[in-house]
């Protein structure tokens, strides 16, 4: 089954089953995303669409209403063209999965779902896969054919190498000439200071950033007992430890890492979403994008 069909069945159809409102909510957020990019600027009028709950009432075309009793909102060309880049971490640590699906599998599905949703909004979607550097970079495009290309590349991606998000994001920031949205899907197992510095640079380059931190439930809980030999997935040294004795300290370090990233992202207006691989992807999207809508 291709990534597209998986996403369509697992995510998009379920979004439909969840309810028109949920899907519309997701889509309206994406619409709202457009507005956040070009808020306050005059742009070319691009047409009308039906009013949907949540739309800004200032965008209602009262003249249309007076003429036809229809509630329509005005669309501008820039609103319809959100330029998003999906950055997927494909380093070795993303190959971990305690219950079948790996973090990378989940990240691919998340990226695919977001890409599909954006395309339906006539947005442009691009893809960058990375580990210590950018492996592949597909520029943004807004056609279905382009999305399929993106999904095919995603599907073909395999995990490997080490994590170095800082240099990757810096490289990307220089490549992205026009303003847009960067959606980073990673486990975040990098130096927080370097990561935050790179994210700050992205923001400076007028990119709106959304960060999805993906973790496996076992990585959060550390369920090991007894004496365990830990073998790293990115050429780290082996460690022989009494899991019961280090569990508390590990969880402390894990939580501190997340906290530092969250605080740092908040300071530069980057929304962080922590996601577990055992969560329903559809609900993750609803949760993440609904909150975004609430902020607006």
């Amino acid at each position: 089954m291709t990534l597209l069909s998986t996403v369509q069945e697992d995510v998009l159809q379920r979004l439909g089953r969840i309810g028109v409102a949920a899907r519309q909510a997701v889509e309206s957020v994406l619409v709202g995303q457009h507005r956040s990019v070009r808020r306050g600027l005059s742009v070319e009028f691009a047409g009308h669409r039906s009013y949907q709950p949540g739309d800004d009432l200032r965008r209602l075309d009262w003249a249309v209403y007076a003429r036809s009793d229809r509630l329509d909102v005005r669309l501008y060309e820039e609103e319809t063209r959100l330029r998003a880049t999906l950055v997927v971490d494909c380093s070795g640590s993303m190959a971990y999965g305690s219950a079948g699906a790996t973090k990378l599998d989940y990240a691919k599905r998340l990226a695919a779902a977001l890409g599909f949703l954006m395309l339906r909004q006539a947005d442009a979607v691009g893809l960058a896969t990375c580990d210590t550097g950018v492996r592949q970079h597909l520029p943004r495009g807004s056609t279905m054919g382009h999305l399929i290309t993106v999904l095919d590349h995603l599907e073909a991606t395999t995990p490997g190498g080490e994590t170095a998000l800082g240099p990757v994001l810096e490289q990307l920031a220089l490549r992205l000439s026009r303003r847009g949205v960067v959606v980073l899907i990673t486990d975040g197992y990098d130096d927080p200071a370097r990561l935050l510095l790179a994210l700050r640079f992205l923001r400076h380059q007028r990119q709106d950033v959304r960060l999805f931190l993906v973790a496996d439930p076992a990585e959060e809980a550390f369920p090991h007992v007894g004496v365990v030999e830990f073998l790293g997935m990115e050429r780290e040294p082996r460690l022989l430890l009494d899991a019961d004795r280090v569990r508390g300290y590990y969880r402390e370090a894990f939580a501190e890492h997340r906290r530092v990233i969250a605080l740092g992202c908040h300071a530069i207006n980057i929304r962080v979403e922590t996601v577990r691989t055992d969560e329903d992807l559809a609900m993750v999207l609803v949760r993440a994008l609904s909150i975004e809508r609430g902020r607006q």
Partner: protein
């Protein structure tokens, strides 16, 4: 100095290694896991390696220390402080005192006061050295073997118990008393065991010659059961000194095995003289069933023993009580101036003659024996004889017999042989004499059975010496032969000739327990005896008729036959002459209701009895009796049965205990005290010079457990604080 009360448990310290072993086993069972979030583990190890190591080793050490404290506490260590100046005996921790009181007969002897009174004062002085928390057990010689009771802590109660004690009539047996003390120690908990022998300072009862017994006892004292440390042995006894001379009635005997009714018998009273004591004015009185029958003055000469002979004829058959007493002698121990003996006076002792060749009168295989036993053939004399042919024998014929004589019997069926064996084991007597019809092979196979049968020895073959042999070797002092040979000796056999006799197999003739009573001039045995169970069997190797010898023509034949049969029929079971501490056992005749039996003691008091079992037979049994003298058991439908309790003659000696006698306990140290003052001075003035440490160890173990739980909870708390998802995004 640190000592341990339960040193054997010190091996439990090995349990302290358990946490280390568990840790090593744990490490061996490790698993390997591929892990993505290594950076957090690496961070943890970088930041907390030292702390993790310290916590790990600290936790391990705490857990080992808990187990070590518990193991050490079980060993009950104590810390001895320096001894007080002049103190002799150190006590480590709580005392477990077992007082072993010798209340035997000799403890009642003494010039000014009985030795037992002095011994009780010494016991009081010892009790004063004990403190609160010390355990006390009190065992007396008279109650050794009674069910044991738990130790007490109340010193006043112990003093009261000792104050109530009095000398009894039991014989002293120090090894048995010490062994009971070692066994009683097992009921105590306190670590410092003390066996305190409290006696009269006499040598009686020490059994110094029984080396094997003392060896075994020394080992038990040196290494008591249960890992307890060896107890200290103390002896509290007044100085033996010279108690003055003592006259004692040593024995009452009768000059024959069976006492006939209405015939005079000689009653021999033996009086022992210990030390220097004038006997002038002292006399010995004899009474039978409470009626005086005579008295004789004690000879004045200072011999160690005097024998006084009284002649008496018992008018009635049955159980009688003969009592002797010394009157008018002021000696150290009055309790041994009286002695009682139970006698059974017989009429018509049932004797069964089984003949190979049946006959009447003087005929048959045992006609001459029958006539010797019952000349009138009316059963009115001492013996009531029944003759039966071997061919017509029924095992039920053995019931109610006292003696069975087999004469020239070729063989017996298996039932009869088994019945004969049971008859002997139960106390009956059997006299076996061969004859022309004797089948050596058969009697060897079924009567001797390689030493397991009733025949005293296996037969080799019939011997016909070319010159007839003559009986020569005679054990004239044997109870069976006294009548026949006491006065005549060898002359009684003059003219006797034995033409044929059965030889005994050489190995069995020297078997242990086989006594030769009469031998032949060629060295072969003529009359042999062996005990079997409660009974005895006598084998005469020639016939008791004129077939193989002319013995029946000799003057000694009749007293010989009567003496052998009387000897064989003299066993009284259960015994009627007992020692203090024994129980009275009586077998009621069939048809008698034993529940109605009553027992009266020497003082006239009624003693409770109960129906019980004795060797598979219904019996009337009393509790252990301690009083000397005669006891009478009465039951409707049966003649009264009389029992006599007499003291052990060794208790009358009153020899003081010598240091060499105490040496039987060597190399075990034994502290002897003769005066109350020396006891108080011998123990430390503060009563205790050792501190028990087990309480502190238990407290330490509890504290360490608390520390361990704190350390473990700290770990769990760190896990809880850093629970997954604890990170909260900023609003």
């Amino acid at each position: 100095m640190i000592g341990f009360a339960n040193l054997m448990l010190l091996g439990g310290l090995a349990a302290a290694a358990a946490p280390v072993l568990i840790h090593i086993a744990h490490r061996r069972r490790r698993t390997s896991v591929r892990w993505a979030a290594m950076r957090f583990l690496v961070e943890t190890m970088k930041a907390r390696r030292r702390r993790l190591m310290v916590e790990h080793w600290l936790l391990l050490a705490v857990r080992m220390a808990v187990l070590a404290c518990v193991a050490l506490a079980l060993c009950r260590p104590y810390l001895s402080r320096d001894a007080d100046a002049g103190a002799v005996i150190e006590r480590g921790g709580g005392v477990a005192a077992v007082l072993l009181i010798d209340d035997s007969l000799s403890s009642g002897a003494g010039r000014a006061e009985p030795a037992f009174t002095s011994a009780k004062r010494l016991a009081d002085a010892y009790l004063a050295t004990l403190r609160k928390g010390d355990e006390i057990s009190i065992l007396t010689m008279s109650r050794v073997g009674a069910p044991a009771s738990d130790p007490i802590f109340d010193r006043d109660a112990a003093r009261e118990i000792i104050a109530q004690l009095a000398p009894t009539a039991v014989a002293s047996d120090v090894p048995t008393l010490l062994a009971a003390g070692v066994a009683q120690l097992a009921r105590h908990v306190n670590p410092a065991g003390e066996l305190v022998l409290i006696g009269d300072g006499r040598a009686a009862g020490w059994a110094g010659a029984d080396g094997a017994r003392w060896d075994e006892l020394r080992q038990r004292i040196a290494a008591p059961a249960g890992g307890r440390a060896a107890p200290r042995v103390l002896m509290l006894a007044p100085e033996g000194g010279d108690p003055g001379g003592n006259l004692a009635l040593e024995s009452i005997t009768v000059d024959r095995a069976l006492v006939p009714v209405a015939r005079p018998v000689h009653i021999v009273i033996t009086v022992a003289r210990h030390g220097v004591i004038p006997a002038s004015g002292a006399l010995v009185r004899l009474s039978v069933d409470g009626r005086g029958v005579g008295e004789q003055p004690l000879p004045a000469e200072a011999a160690a023993r005097h024998q006084l002979v009284f002649t008496h004829a018992f008018a009635l058959a049955g159980s009688h009580l003969v009592e002797a007493s010394i009157e008018g002698a002021r000696d150290a121990l009055p309790a041994d101036d009286r002695r009682a003996r139970s006698l059974d006076v017989e009429r018509g002792v049932p004797v069964l003659l089984i003949e190979g060749v049946a006959g009447t009168g003087l005929g048959g295989s045992l006609g001459l024996v029958a006539t010797a036993l019952d000349p009138q053939a009316d059963g009115g004399g001492l013996f009531a004889v029944t003759r039966v042919s071997a061919a017509r024998l029924e095992p039920t014929d053995f019931a109610r017999q006292r003696v069975i004589v087999l004469g020239d019997v070729p063989a017996l069926d298996a039932r009869s042989v088994a019945a004969l064996e049971a008859f002997v084991v139960a106390g009956g007597g059997v006299l076996v004499a061969p004859g022309p019809h004797t089948d050596v092979g058969l009697i060897n196979r079924y009567w001797a059975r390689d030493g397991h049968g009733f025949l005293p020895a296996a037969i080799s073959s019939l011997i016909e010496p070319p010159d007839s042999t003559v009986p020569t070797t005679i054990s004239a002092s044997h109870p069976a032969l006294r009548d026949a040979f006491a006065s005549n000796g060898q002359a009684a056999w003059r003219g006797a000739r034995v033409h044929r006799y059965l030889g005994l197999q050489s190995d069995t003739s020297r078997a242990s327990g086989l006594d030769q009573l009469i031998g032949l001039s060629d060295g072969a045995p003529l009359v042999v005896e062996r005990a079997r169970g409660h009974g005895r069997v006598v084998l005469v190797t020639t016939s008791l008729d004129l077939a193989w010898s002319d013995l029946p023509r000799q003057a000694a034949f009749v007293p010989l036959v009567r003496g052998l049969v009387a000897h064989l029929g003299s066993a009284v079971l259960p015994p009627r002459n007992l020692r203090p501490g024994d129980r009275i056992i009586w077998l009621p005749p069939s048809g008698i209701a034993s529940e109605a039996a009553t027992l009266e003691g020497p003082d006239g008091a009624t003693i409770p009895v109960a129906t019980s079992d004795w060797e598979g037979r219904r019996a009337v049994v009393s509790a252990a009796a301690l009083m000397l003298g005669g006891y009478v058991l009465r039951v409707a439908g049966a003649p009264p049965a009389r029992f006599a309790f007499a003291s052990d003659p060794a208790e009358s000696a009153l020899d003081p205990l010598s240091p060499s006698a105490l040496g039987v306990l060597a190399p075990l140290p034994i502290a002897r005290f003769t005066m109350p003052d020396t006891i108080a001075a011998a123990f430390a003035s503060d009563g205790r010079r050792a501190v028990e440490l087990w309480r502190w160890l238990v407290a330490a173990a509890v504290a360490l457990l608390f520390v361990e739980s704190l350390l473990t909870r700290r770990q769990a708390g760190a896990e809880g604080d850093a629970a997954p998802g604890a990170i909260r995004p900023p609003p």
